[in-house]
């Protein structure tokens, strides 16, 4: 994946991924919540990224903290796509499934491709566990896995055996079975265990016994691959490094990227960051990440509720910091009244919505992009609010910077629409170089001069009002949620003034529309038969499907919106250059409805609200249906 909002203008394109198990391999680890699946997946992802592969990941864990073991709903999984080509999704199908218990096999078998590889811990396939998973008979024995390549291994007992000399109890030894599995999978990918060993040493440096056991298990799994006679249909994967742009990389997920980006944005604005939040899935890691930036001057505040979280951020902004609050849809709903206050008082404020399935509490751990209406229109009164959205994890950092820039330059609250997939998925990320012009500082000038000071005087270019911070001599003034007299900011119930102020708040968005970059085309021609238009995390599947179709000679373009409100000023003109515009969305057609209200263009909507991102083949089908198989 490429990084960056500003940086994306100099895109370095990786080849399109086409051949599974040649260009890329999709592997999924699945097991009980307590099996260490997320750690195993993350380690393989890091290791692959370090090797130079492009990766895309998808952690899929239950909402329950410790669901009963052996149940379907207690299964935790980590999907990972490893490529020497560009991989933008975790994959429609699985090439190799590692199932550490019957429930994991039952839950994820459906996603495994024909003739795909199943690595199974047969020690976990007791009669009781098989029944608990809902199988009527042992799937290893009843022939139901005949269309797959099955590698049945005694993972648990092999782990116990490998750790026998450590003196650990069998129970403690079994806890390292995920590392044994990882060792085997690393062998399968022709990778050494060195990176993971190094990580284990660091992670458990205070518990050398645990570190030693995990490393021994890891090595034992790797050695098992090396010396055992595996079935002839099990062959190793040879995925070369991807030709990524030169530079220094790390892997990052969307929540981390966003938190760091917001800090960078506040810094480039020459402000301190204040993050007010209340824990909510899947936004909480934003709070955790900012909390760790305290030594860097970032203030985080865990408030008593969602309302207090945004109100504290508004108070901090009033006092001269960059106030930020983050949540997910239900929390944003609670913050709504305060967002209106920030609009009325024209204070800079960033609201991050890490979307999840709704309405109401909805699907806390499942992704969706159905809060677009809420973001654009979900307030009382005419209450315009700019809305931007990152397309993938590697873009979140730059989106945090962009949010800070727009909010401070125009003196406005702003909403960033991330989602559960972007938040949790990780990808290789080229570390930012702060000498890059994309990170040109945009220091805020707070008001100091009493001569001619009017708190509700507006800059004609940006429509920003002066930001006079308490503590500044001779600029004392009062603000609040009641309508303001233009200029003085005193309370005004005058109708003509309300008309004027309503226009001023709308013109703020007009000013933003002028300052944001024109909409570009992600891939494909700038006019043609078909444009697939997306926003947010549908980026990956659309990109893969559109580029593959283009290689097949189809006229299809991918256009992806980062600025959702106001819309880029050239968007209508750009879209009018295509015969058809189709919008696949993880909601019931919200962007399509927004666009229909804003421009005289026919757009078609395709909806998918299944708690997961679109599959590449679903987008490919949209393209095929629109153009015909051979056009």
């Amino acid at each position: 994946m490429q990084s960056g909002l500003e940086r994306s203008t100099t895109t370095h394109e990786l080849p399109v991924s086409q051949q599974p198990e040649v260009d890329y391999v999709r592997v999924r680890f699945a097991g009980d919540s307590g099996d260490g699946i997320q750690m195993t997946g993350t380690r393989l992802a890091e290791s692959a990224a370090r090797f130079g592969n492009d990766i895309a990941t998808f952690p899929d864990f239950p909402a329950d903290i410790r669901a009963p073991s052996g149940t379907i709903y207690g299964v935790s999984a980590y999907s990972l796509n490893i490529g020497h080509t560009e991989v933008d999704t975790f994959g429609d199908e699985t090439d190799a499934l590692v199932a550490l218990n019957p429930a994991a096999l039952r839950k994820y078998l459906e996603g495994v491709k024909q003739n795909g590889l199943l690595i199974i811990d047969i020690d976990a396939f007791t009669e009781r566990a098989i029944t608990k998973a809902g199988f009527s008979a042992n799937p290893l024995e009843d022939g139901s896995l005949s269309s797959f390549r099955v590698l049945p291994l005694e993972i648990t007992s092999n782990t116990e055996k490998a750790l026998k000399e450590t003196g650990l109890s069998a129970k403690d030894a079994r806890r390292s079975k995920n590392m044994w599995t990882l060792g085997l999978v690393l062998w399968l990918f022709e990778r050494s265990t060195a990176d993971v060993e190094h990580w284990i040493e660091q992670k458990f440096h205070k518990k050398p016994d645990v570190a030693k056991a995990n490393i021994m298990a890891l090595q034992a799994g790797h050695l098992y691959g090396e010396v055992s006679d595996l079935p002839p249909d099990v062959s190793r994967y040879r995925i070369q490094p991807a030709p990524l742009m030169e530079g220094e990389y790390r892997s990052i997920n969307g929540n981390e990227g966003m938190a760091y980006g917001l800090y960078a944005g506040a810094t480039l604005a020459n402000l301190e960051l204040f993050y007010g939040s209340y824990p909510i899935t899947p936004a909480s890691p934003l709070l955790h990440t900012v909390a760790k930036l305290k030594e860097l001057g970032a203030i985080s505040f865990q408030a008593e509720d969602e309302i207090a979280a945004i109100c504290a951020a508004i108070g901090a902004s009033y006092a001269g910091h960059l106030g930020v609050t983050g949540s997910s849809g239900p929390g944003i709903a609670l913050k709504t009244e305060a967002i209106g206050l920030a609009i009325m008082t024209e204070l800079p404020l960033v609201i991050v919505n890490v979307q999840r399935g709704g309405p109401s509490t909805g699907l806390p751990t499942k992704t969706e992009q159905s809060d677009l209406f809420q973001a654009i229109w979900g307030r009382n009164g005419d209450a315009p609010l700019p809305v931007i959205a990152p397309a993938h994890p590697g873009e979140c950092f730059d989106m945090g910077v962009e949010a800070a820039k727009l909010a401070t330059r125009h003196m406005t609250p702003l909403m960033v629409l991330s989602d559960g997939y972007i938040a949790n998925a990780s990808a290789p990320w080229k570390l930012p170089d702060f000498n890059d012009p994309a990170y040109e500082p945009f220091p805020v000038e707070q008001a100091k001069e009493p001569e001619g000071f009017l708190p509700y005087d507006h800059d004609p270019d940006t429509m920003a009002r002066p930001w006079a911070v308490p503590g500044t001599a001779d600029l004392m003034h009062r603000i609040g949620g009641l309508e303001k007299q233009a200029g003085s900011g005193n309370i005004s119930y005058d109708g003509e003034n309300h008309q004027l102020m309503t226009q001023i708040r709308a013109q703020k968005l007009d000013a933003i529309a002028k300052s944001i970059p024109p909409q570009h085309v992600e891939s494909g021609p700038t006019t043609g038969k078909l444009a697939i238009l997306g926003w947010g995390s549908s980026w990956g599947p659309i990109r893969v499907a559109a580029r593959r179709a283009e290689l097949e000679g189809k006229s299809v373009s991918h256009i992806h919106l980062r600025h959702l409100w106001p819309l880029p000023s050239n968007l209508e003109e750009l879209l009018s250059g295509y015969d058809r515009v189709i919008i696949p969305e993880m909601n019931n057609g919200q962007l399509a409805t927004v666009l229909r209200s804003q421009m005289d263009i026919k757009v078609e909507s395709v909806s998918c609200v299944k708690g997961r991102p679109f599959l590449v083949r679903e987008i490919a089908k949209i393209i095929e249906d629109a153009l015909g198989a051979s056009s």
Partner: protein, 342 residues
């Protein structure tokens, strides 16, 4: 710079409370106290929610933020955390602070961030035209309780104690001699100071505190407590409060009739938590005085200072921050892609 006078703390706006409203008196006491203490306009921030009392920031020449219903403590907390140098005041009412904003008030009191919360308790919703509030007396007939309210009223001071407040005081709106020093002590307190003002709504609940305010009979129904002083009250200074012998309750006694002397009376200890609970509840039954003054005051960890531990000792420059951020981003595993690496 010359010293500011009380009138210098008044903004240029016309005050638009109803004629005779108790809020005028509180505003006047506030102006006077701020002038007397040498407060600066630019360093004073008044934050309020919604309701009659919450209009107060507009009548101050300081910085002011008239926010949304019940949320003033949260907004004030954010401002104070961002700039600890500010002298932050929250003005709220019985509806704003105890009904719609009860949660924020509770947590503000518990945290003990250095600010003052002044709650105007008029036992009624004024700005929405006279519905009963969480402090309205049981049985009160209002447009929303034509048959009389059946709810148990909330006692603000007792709520504050329950929330863990470290400074709890109560005054009557028009008693400047009691209110002025309380406001000063609240400002001086390093933590969240909670001040309940019994305030008369001249339109919808007129006279509800008359028996306490009455120049002649009022002293029989109120006691102003002072740390270290015996609890004597009454028009003739002939009543007192003691601990009932053999019990864990307060006893209202008559100094002459009951054969009790001043030596038998309680001496106010504002650091005594159990006493504060008992004092807060006095006045709920006939024959008991309503307790005014500083009911409870105890120094404790101030939230702002505690939460700043770990921040850089002085603000970092933009360049320093970017250097630190670069290092933080590289604290996780990184790798190079380049001609050599590829």
């Amino acid at each position: 710079m010359t010293d500011l006078k009380p009138k210098d703390f008044a903004s240029s706006l016309d005050v638009r409370w109803c004629p005779g409203c108790g809020d005028y008196a509180v505003l006047k006491s506030l102006h006077k106290m701020l002038a007397d203490t040498g407060a600066k306009l630019e360093d004073t921030l008044c934050v309020s929610g919604i309701g009659c009392s919450s209009r107060l920031p507009y009548y101050m020449a300081t910085y002011g933020f008239h926010t949304i219903h019940g949320r003033a403590p949260a907004i004030a907390s954010g401002a104070k955390l961002a700039n600890p140098e500010l002298d932050v005041w929250v003005f709220t009412g019985d509806g704003d602070g105890l009904s719609i904003g009860g949660n924020h008030l509770l947590h503000a009191l518990r945290r003990n961030l250095d600010m003052q919360i002044v709650l105007f308790n008029n036992q009624i919703y004024g700005l929405t035209k006279g519905q009963y509030s969480p402090t309205s007396q049981k049985g009160m007939r209002t447009p929303s309780s034509p048959g009389g309210t059946v709810e148990m009223p909330l006692n603000p001071a007792r709520f504050a104690i329950g929330a863990g407040s470290k400074f709890i005081a109560r005054s009557i709106d028009t008693q400047a001699k009691v209110l002025g020093p309380i406001l000063q002590a609240a400002r001086d307190f390093d933590g969240t100071a909670f001040v309940e003002v019994l305030q008369n709504c001249v339109i919808f609940n007129d006279g509800v505190f008359d028996h306490l305010k009455d120049k002649k009979q009022g002293p029989d129904h109120t006691i102003v407590v002072e740390h270290g002083q015996p609890m004597v009250f009454g028009v003739n200074k002939d009543k007192g409060i003691r601990v009932k012998p053999g019990g864990f309750v307060l006893d209202i006694v008559s100094l002459e009739a009951d054969g009790v002397t001043e030596a038998d009376l309680l001496v106010h200890d504002e650091t005594n938590h159990a006493l504060a609970v008992a004092l807060a509840e006095l006045g709920e039954k006939d024959g008991e005085p309503t307790v005014l003054g500083i009911l409870f005051r105890e120094q404790a960890t101030e939230f702002g200072a505690a939460s700043r531990i770990g921040l850089p000792e002085k603000p970092l420059s933009m360049n320093e921050k970017l250097i630190h951020l670069s290092a933080t981003l590289r604290a996780s595993e990184t790798w190079d892609v380049g001609e050599d690496a590829a």
